[in-house]
Amino acid sequence: MKYKNLIINDPKELMFGIAPNPVKTKRGLVIGGGQVYAELNFTLPVMSINNSTLNQVYTHYREIAEGALEHALHMNSKGIVLEFETLLEMTKTPSIGVEIVKIMNEVCENYYQKHGLSSEIRLTPNDLREFERPARQRSSQHLEPMMELFEQGMIAGGDLLSIESTGGKEVSDEALMMCDVKGMVFALAVLGVRDMHFLWEKIVALANKHGKIAAGDSACGFANTAMVLAEKKYIPKVFATIVRVISVVRSIVAMEEGAIGPDKDCGYEGPFLKAITGIPISMEGKTAACAHLSPLGNIASACADLWSNESVQNIKLLSGMAPTAYLEQLEYDARLMNAALNAGKVHAHILQQLLVASDVYTDPQALILSPENVIRISNQLIKGDSYVANAKNGALAALDIIEEALLSGKMKLPELETGYLPILRDDLNTIPENESEFIAMMLPLLDESKFTLAEYGL
């Protein structure tokens, strides 16, 4: 484990738009260098992708990019990131994904040359290995098209490289539904960590080869699944909160392998990554309600360097096409944060305090994202000698914070939720900090037909 000290120790330094290690892009964005940019994400409307619809698909992406950049220009934007998160068919047949990157890059370059508007493409191939069960994380034939899309896509103009990798998901899906915190630690801190090392070593090598930016991963398939299940009242929010914290030890491996940010928008573990590693991060909140609901609308922006909408279909709204409309919303949010930054530290801090105060005690998932709590938990996430120990210590710190907020009366949760707090604590306390001991403890409890240890190097 690479990180033994926090890069940001003071909560006041964990600020939107400012990262200790900003990332400069080829068209001049300095992410984390003193201002917040919009990161627009989008997808197709409901349609099939096949040979007969490919031209329509390409047209959609061209229109999305042109619509967004034209409006960004009109709004005097200082720059934007377009995230192209591929759909299954676009990764299975990398030439489709690559063609879309080319199309969007042409649009970006055109606006840069003609108008000086800086924009970059974040290329996020979907993890095809998710489509095999039991998962073959290392030997899957799906790895080849994924890596081909990464390489050819970056040559075609994808500058920031990300993925929502899925190592450990075959264990976490069931653990989530059973509120099995030990299962989640095994999925994320044992399996997930190993898969992240395997995958990000390759991604970073490709990025370095082509002079591109290895940006970061997101535990979306784990922690956001938990958040959405909690939103539906399928599982307790307090459990989803703990899962978020545990996910940090898995996502930070991208940085250990050489990723430099901006971390991916749907990774709400981003603030912890920023505190520990100093990288800039992308976040999403109220402006991502088009994709999923969340209890983190304002607080999520407290230390964001890119501000995203997660995803919106290219459909017509009263104002125009949905991606253009969302670009406008993101730009206004970014403008407000940038106005505060330009006015000085005091103003930026006041805005951040308001963003935090408006959410922090409404939900435990918001509670852990206040800058003070991010720093407190992050200290616990790096103090151990194993990823398992760090996951356990971070989760226990989050439980302490939730219980303190309840005791003080600042946060209220129904008994149905609070009843899980002692169960989670007891479960966490049974986890040995030594990884080998933990694996030995877990293997008899897990259905080994659902995962293959060798695919994780075990």
């Binding site: 409901v46 349609m47 989530l176 539904m177 059973m178 509120c179 399928y234 599982i235 279909q313 149905l416």
Partner: protein
């Protein structure tokens, strides 16, 4: 005898699988669904009565509590496990025809989609409602649904999808099923699915949550 059924109902409702199971705390060291079902059979209670007066009402209560947000999924899953322990003892009676279910429910996540959390919840609740389940798993194309339907004539079909890009595959599956067995009842569900989409592709029912699926199925059986 009635006492046994009441205890079994309670064991399933609160997820007490067997005597050694520590969950739920209030039933610690008491017999669970496993032991109570054996006792009920030994006491001469007809298996059909065990199913209809203990297991189905227990799962119905669980479904209602879940729909009213009074319990979370883990509690529901523990109830399903307790019911499973009981059903294991009743298995021979299903095979001999001594117990009749309400019918068969064939369920799967549609082609291109590997998400199964929603599918599993629906499957579990429908089984708890007294139906036999044929779970085809994930990434299931129309051919597998048709084949399963041939093996289980008159079965109800359930299609699940999480992605906007895979929900479109529901339409093709519905059309193919209709070609082979036009009278088949088909219900669909999943995050991006709507009642309008259900109507558009010619399915019979859109289930926004597992409990609504059970209610629809029970109407079909009544």
């Amino acid at each position: 005898m009635e006492d046994l059924l009441v205890k079994l109902l309670e064991a399933v409702e609160f997820g007490k699988v067997d005597k050694k199971s520590p969950y739920p705390p209030q039933l610690r060291d008491m017999d669970g669904a496993h032991e109570l079902t054996i006792s009920a059979i030994e006491a001469g209670i007809k298996p059909q009565i065990i199913l209809e007066e203990a297991l189905i009402p227990a799962m119905s209560k669980v479904g209602k509590k879940f729909a009213e947000c009074k319990i979370f999924v883990p509690q529901m899953l523990m109830s399903a496990r307790a019911m499973g322990a009981s059903m294991f003892q009743l298995k021979p009676f299903f095979a001999s025809g001594a117990i009749k279910t309400k019918g068969t429910f064939i369920i799967g996540t549609v082609k291109g989609d590997l998400h199964d959390i929603g599918k599993n919840l629906v499957s579990m609740m429908v089984e708890g409602g007294g139906w036999s389940i044929v779970d085809l798993g994930v990434d299931v194309g129309s051919d597998k649904f048709v084949e399963a339907l041939k093996n289980n004539p008159g079965a109800v079909i359930g299609l699940s999808a999480l992605l906007t890009t895979t929900m479109v595959n529901m339409g093709e599956i519905v059309s193919t099923i209709r070609e082979h067995a036009p009278e088949t009842k088909i219900l669909i569900g999943g995050a991006p699915v709507t009642a309008e989409f259900c109507q558009h592709i010619g399915a019979d029912f859109y289930a926004p949550d597992p409990q609504k699926a059970v209610e629809y199925m029970n109407k079909l059986a009544s």
